[in-house]
């Protein structure tokens, strides 16, 4: 009887521990500083707002951190270092549902393009809707939002193998 109660309490404790877990974003691979970004870390970073059209065909304003800034912080070869063999690196972004999308580094680098790809946390001033947050990649100007990967959990930089 006593044990059952103990077991019961232990179960509850274990469960509440599980509940406390929340999403973070790991940044790993060809980086000098691997990151494990919490929502608070991301909230503290500099934000920009971009206009982009989602699948609904309507323009929205998305606010978030430029992906390039996150890569800089992790020590990825961006800017002046993005040359030579580093041109064969890519960024793979992964979602909690298992979806993965790929960007080449120049697509994300201000030295190459004016388009700012962001890790958005807000749309039209609101948190992202249920299921698509807390963080979603937004690629302004891209006709089909298939790379607007939602529920981002991991970013990995690698060399293409061939």
């Amino acid at each position: 009887m006593k044990y059952t109660l103990l077991l019961f309490l232990a179960t509850i404790l274990l469960h509440s521990r599980t509940w406390a877990q929340s999403a973070t974003i790991s940044v790993t691979g060809e980086v000098t500083h691997p990151l494990q970004l919490s929502a608070a870390d991301i909230a503290a970073m500099k934000k920009v707002t971009v206009q982009a059209t989602d699948r609904d065909g309507k323009a929205h304003s998305y606010t978030g951190v430029p992906v390039a800034d996150i890569l800089q912080q992790a020590g990825v070869t961006m800017g002046a270092q993005l040359r030579g063999e580093n041109m064969s690196k890519y960024l793979l972004v992964k979602s909690g549902d298992g979806y993965e999308v790929l960007f080449s580094l120049p697509e994300l680098d201000a030295a190459f393009t004016d388009r700012v790809v962001i890790l958005a946390s807000q749309v039209d001033g609101q948190s992202l809707p249920e299921g698509k947050g807390p963080f979603r990649i937004v690629v302004p100007g891209e006709k089909k939002p298939a790379r607007w990967i939602w529920e981002v959990t991991a970013m990995t930089v690698r060399f293409a193998k061939e």
Binding site: R17, W19, G98, P129, G131, W150
Partner: protein
């Protein structure tokens, strides 16, 4: 007396013969599959496919000695005629306690990277450990299985051929099983022939396929069922985890049990729809007995919840609908298309069948 000696000599000669012939290099097994399946294969570096390994794996897949009561094999819950399922809501192994989930069909596992309904195993090697040792499935520790096989006449030469020694270890059992499973390739359904330009769809299947492939857009008067968003590609699955709106408070938390994340509540791996007409009942808990019930679910009964897949939210043929709202005849057309995913050569392939029969 003489006869016994003769037999022994014969056995030794056979061992030497197979030894010299097979021991140095088992022959590589080259899996054959269509180019549109892609080459992202999941084969661990330490377990390459060999003909000898695959043959041994096939025997082991049907070997009841691997179970505690010598009655249950992998083939008990994964029957070839049912595309390697068992037709039950939940399966039973060595006792009467049912499994917690519905048996999964085994086809095109060569490409899968996260096994089980919740994706908790990363390789077939890791996966096999569960049914072999789980208390209510086959319920036998690996070393006991290995010892039982060592006592059987059948296996020494087979292990020797596959692995270059006849030690017979648990690790070898698992490796051989995984090799066999990687050869279970299903790529010969009418739909595959259609993709190859060699099959004419019936009008109903053609309509069903269009619905299957397209997302609905009532504003533009486009009818659709959007199944391909999740069950698309020539292999008919995408390796993603979604909550497809079965429950608001699922009894089985699915992937949440693994990750502890609320977003993963009721999320399961998207299963393949290959051979789907043969693998009833459906879903992780076998709750639907027929494809008609499955279509009724997607059409009418998507349950809203915080972890419901965004792909199924606001996806309807009705303005503001919360389920697909397909007509009866549209549901029938989709089912006609699903029947074209049945690969009868796969379920009759003698290389996959029970070698003890």
């Amino acid at each position: 007396m003489n006869k016994r000696w003769l037999l022994r000599w014969f056995g030794l000669a056979a061992l030497l013969f197979t030894g010299s012939r097979w021991l140095p290099v088992p022959e590589p097994y080259v899996p054959v599959y269509p180019a549109n399946f892609g080459n992202r294969l999941n084969i661990p570096a330490d377990n390459p496919l060999t003909k000898e390994g695959v043959l041994l794996g096939r025997m082991l897949f049907y070997e009841p000695l691997l179970s505690a009561n010598n009655k249950v094999s992998c083939g008990s819950c994964h029957q070839q005629q049912r595309a390697f399922t068992d037709g039950k809501k939940f399966s039973t192994g060595i006792d009467s306690i049912p499994t917690e989930r519905n048996s999964m069909s085994l086809a095109n596992l060569l490409w899968v990277r996260h096994f089980f309904w919740d994706g908790r195993a990363e390789s077939l090697e890791q996966q096999a450990l569960t049914p072999l040792t789980a208390l209510h499935e086959m319920g036998q520790p690996l070393d006991i299985s290995a010892a039982k096989l060592r006592r059987s006449q059948r296996y020494a030469a087979l292990f020797n051929a596959a692995f270059g020694n006849s030690n017979i270890t648990g690790d070898q059992i698992i490796k051989a099983l995984a090799q066999f499973e990687r050869t279970l390739i299903s790529a010969n359904a009418p739909y595959d022939h259609y993709l190859a330009g060699k099959y004419q769809l019936s009008p109903a299947a053609e309509r069903g396929m269009q619905l299957f492939m397209n997302a609905p857009d009532p504003g533009k008067k486009i009818r659709g069922a959007n199944c391909a968003h999740c069950h698309g590609s020539p292999k008919l699955y995408m390796e993603l985890f979604h909550n497809n709106g079965l429950d608001s408070l699922p009894l089985d938390p699915g992937r949440e049990k693994l990750t502890g994340l609320a977003a993963d509540r009721g999320r399961f791996r998207i299963p393949t729809l290959r051979n789907i007409a043969l693998t009833a009942p459906y879903m992780h808990d076998g709750r639907f007995g027929t494809l008609e019930e499955v279509l009724d679910h997607y059409s009418e009964h998507i349950i809203q919840s915080p972890s419901l897949s965004p792909v199924l939210r606001n996806t309807s043929n009705d303005m503001n609908g919360t389920s697909l709202k397909l007509s009866r005849s549209e549901q029938k057309d989709i089912i006609a298309f699903l029947h074209l995913l049945t690969d009868s050569t796969f379920i009759n392939n003698s290389q996959f069948s029970n070698p003890f029969n």
